[in-house]
Symmetry: C2
Subunit: 277 residues, 2 copies
């Protein structure tokens, strides 16, 4: 349990009915949003992804004002002063009931919002770079769910358990075909021959909002990549919506300094939102 | 919300803390058990599967007496007379918290138990047989999770949504390689040339407790099967732990009467437990 405020369908609440399908089947979606000085970063991109996921699962998505009202309520519940960085977690579930896997047409989606502390600042990691390993677990390929931030995350939990070595910060994942997908909790960008590449997310993985912003800004392009492409890269970085860009310092025996394409991407993301400066 | 009794970690409770990882990631397991005249059917088989799943996910499994105590408490909360058939749903989650996908070593697993009404009796369906279709969705292949009854069930929810036609009772699923796996909520048995066959569950699907009982009794063997093997079968049935054996009456253009191997399996299962008579 947390002391941080949370809301369910707009009401201050810390618990969920046991018949919720989010618990029963992971039947829902989530977003993890950086709240910088009280302002949600890449808000539209997060709600767009949530809407895409809701459409794919056939769940009616709440409107942006619904979520904004939740956020306003959460902030009012927070003791002053507000930390500079917080995490806003949104969860949308299909709601309660239904007989088995069949959806009860009468069930209403459920909207959960929570404020959480942000992870520690990554200033040191930004210089030294984070330390990666390859995970043994291979992501399964499911085009119907690829890209979405849905609640079925056991593969990520199992992969993360492979990274208990204190000298390892994060893991890299391939899918069952051996194609590189992403890190466990972030997308992967690869500098090769002066270009910045990132794996397409069409069979496995989450299409991150920072990834989307960098692609839209034209600093990177999608390209299918294998393990050898990563290990022979000129530079590497990860990104996610809470931590921004994280240069990779080491993967196995290979070490990298922070490279010029990574510095350009850092500048690009900081220009998109000052929270990433 | 339900009027039926439920317990969380042994206490009468209808809600779950919002930080539970069962909700956040589907980080847990479940069992759906037939309660026949107050007695849980195939109890040991259900707890064995739960234990196998807990071991695979690295969750400490509660003991059988813990669950038995929950069941006794649920039954005491139930108004008399008890229906002849109920469903006992057990859920085991990794518990609360942790930072992202990493497990908090201090977090304790959470034990949820609920009583629910049983589905309507299938006497008519047992004669006419149930009506199946092939689902378009292909199950992803993940050997690390195959066989387990874990909480990541979005594929089953999506597949079930393909069966909204009132003339269809249930769907059949292949995995992404085109190999037949099971029905959405039950295992598949196929009579061919006097033998009863069932697909191995090593890349996708749930290894059902009725399936396990029939295999252990020696009435069926595992064999990899394709779509053509099913469509040209002499007879077909599904089974699951709540509904027992369900003969298949129709799949696409093909119709089947209840066959001799199905009748033998019905007799075998009834001999294993009178709840299945």
């Amino acid at each position: 349990m947390t002391d941080w405020p949370s809301r369910v369908d707009g009401l201050a609440e810390h618990a969920l009915p046991l018949d919720d399908r989010g618990l029963a089947y992971g039947d829902g979606l989530f977003e993890t949003i950086l709240l910088y000085r009280g302002r949600p970063v890449l808000w539209d991109a997060h709600l767009d992804r949530l809407k895409r996921g809701a459409d794919a699962l056939g769940i009616a998505a709440p409107t942006s004002p619904d979520w904004q009202q939740d956020l306003a309520g959460l902030l009012l519940q927070c003791p002053a002063p507000l930390p500079e960085r917080l995490v806003l977690k949104l969860v949308l579930t299909r709601g309660g009931g239904g007989r088995g896997y069949a959806v009860d047409p009468a069930s209403a989606p459920r909207r959960i919002s929570r404020l959480l502390p942000a992870p520690p600042a990554d200033a040191a990691l930004r210089e030294s770079g984070i330390r990666l390993r390859w995970c043994g677990l291979r992501l399964s390929r499911q085009p119907r769910l690829a890209g979405l931030k849905h609640l079925n995350r056991l593969e990520q939990v199992l992969a993360r358990a492979e990274c208990s070595d204190p000298d390892i910060d994060e893991g890299l994942l391939c899918d069952s075909s051996g194609t590189v997908v992403s890190a466990i909790a972030g997308n992967l960008f690869v500098g090769r021959g002066g270009r910045l590449l990132t794996p397409p997310i069409n069979a496995a993985g989450v299409a991150g909002t920072c990834r989307g912003a960098l692609l839209a800004a034209g600093v990177a392009v999608e390209q299918a990549l294998g393990i050898a492409d990563i290990e022979s890269a000129d530079e590497l970085f990860l990104c996610n919506s809470v931590r921004g860009i994280l240069p990779v310092g080491r993967l196995g025996d290979r070490c990298w300094p922070v490279g010029p394409l990574t510095r350009a991407a850092l500048a690009c993301l900081a220009a998109i939102d000052p929270a990433f400066e």
